[in-house]
Symmetry: C2
Subunit: 286 residues, 2 copies
Amino acid sequence: MSLLDHIHTCNRWNPADFEPFVVGGERLGLVRRRFAKALTEGGGDFVRAEDGLHWVTAPADFDARSDAFAAHAADWDRRGLISHRHGERYPVLNAAGEARFLMDRAVAPYFGIRAFGQHLNGYVRRDDGLYLWVGRRSQSRRVAPGKLDHMVAGGLPWGVSLAENLRKECWEEAALPAAIADRARPVGIVAYCRDSDRGLKPDTIYCYDLELPDDISPRCNDDEVESFQLLPATEVMRIVDTSDAFKLNCNLVIIDFLMRHGLIGPEHPDYLALAHGLRSAPAVAQ
Amino acid sequence: MSLLDHIHTCNRWNPADFEPFVVGGERLGLVRRRFAKALTEGGGDFVRAEDGLHWVTAPADFDARSDAFAAHAADWDRRGLISHRHGERYPVLNAAGEARFLMDRAVAPYFGIRAFGQHLNGYVRRDDGLYLWVGRRSQSRRVAPGKLDHMVAGGLPWGVSLAENLRKECWEEAALPAAIADRARPVGIVAYCRDSDRGLKPDTIYCYDLELPDDISPRCNDDEVESFQLLPATEVMRIVDTSDAFKLNCNLVIIDFLMRHGLIGPEHPDYLALAHGLRSAPAVAQ
């Protein structure tokens, strides 16, 4: 395990395993060939062609298309073709970044839909260096139970602004009021694309830094986080460098934090590979 | 002119105009086809084949190869095939990052050799926000005379460490002593590849932030810089966004600075394109 290993883990996928997902003549995603085959066995709504899987009966209207897709997803869920539905909806973007319809967050990977999220590095500056607030995910969570996590992190659902969502997540996950959340500074992005159990996950994460004074601490406010601890940034680096204790994508956002703050410097043998790897090129589809 | 325009300007090149530069079976660069043709008219040392321009008489030994190349460069300079020689030497790296020989800094673009440099954002934190120290290049400089520039910036010659070179440049360009230079914090890289008059320039710039107290100012120490001024970061952003007053690559390093410090945020319509564009993928050769 090394810093670079985490970047490789988050960017592992084989283009040959996937085919384009085409709706209304636009390539909107990438579907695993095996899943595309399963979908087309059900009937005539989805058809495979040379250039990919076509949803041939997709309504042209945004809302009608979103509703029709949700009905299909419910059917796939009943038939066990997908693992579950989440309830939160993500926009399906075309190559120009325009939303074409909405898709359940848990279904998006089956169609290789890019998801957007926000991760917040909560840190404290002390005389002996930087400290990072680290959360531990509840054992009851479906994704990465018990793993270490950012102080605040979440997906970006449809129709909520970045600022609004960050405030909401800061309150729900760390009991930090809006006045504190609004001090968070956007500091760039991390992007990757990975083959997961459910399909392809091309993710873009908006990264934020939030410097906290010594007298303000995050506090568990829902059942998603089990506990918080404040660790020296050098100790967090050691954990990332030598283990998979953190949820997969947190490793990348932390590496970005450590590079921006000079804790990983150009003397690191993988410095250039890390810097390029944190913002891997968009996947084929988008 | 927009922020994104600067990134496009620094990444403009047409792969069809170039062919690989091959030495000892290794692809080490990219040569403009026209220049490759001119080189092969002189004799038998350089030969064009299907897979690129081969330096067929290159010695295997590192020093001997560097010397032999320098002799060729002197000849091309006399014959007016190249614009000039600089005197400082850059390493020519193979795909694995191993140095294969040394090449004059001014000749490197003719062979599409990746150059490495360092840019330092000198900034001051005041109650009303961040200020950036901006230099103006002398009218007498060969490259970008009279353009705005970073407080400190320079190429990375062979055999000098990053820390050593930064100290040297801080002293030469801004009269800042080593004790101040050593406070500079590495904050990542910017990478681009551009077609220039002389050939292809794939550049990787190591970026640094140096926070200065209000009572320490840079001071012109050689004839490379004409003057320094301290500008609000928002004013620097306006200049970059609306003009080409800065030397080309400075625009990219400043955009990176503004993104890391939250002055360009995700509400900017080009945020994702900017973030990806600052670290464009390595050129074909390397």
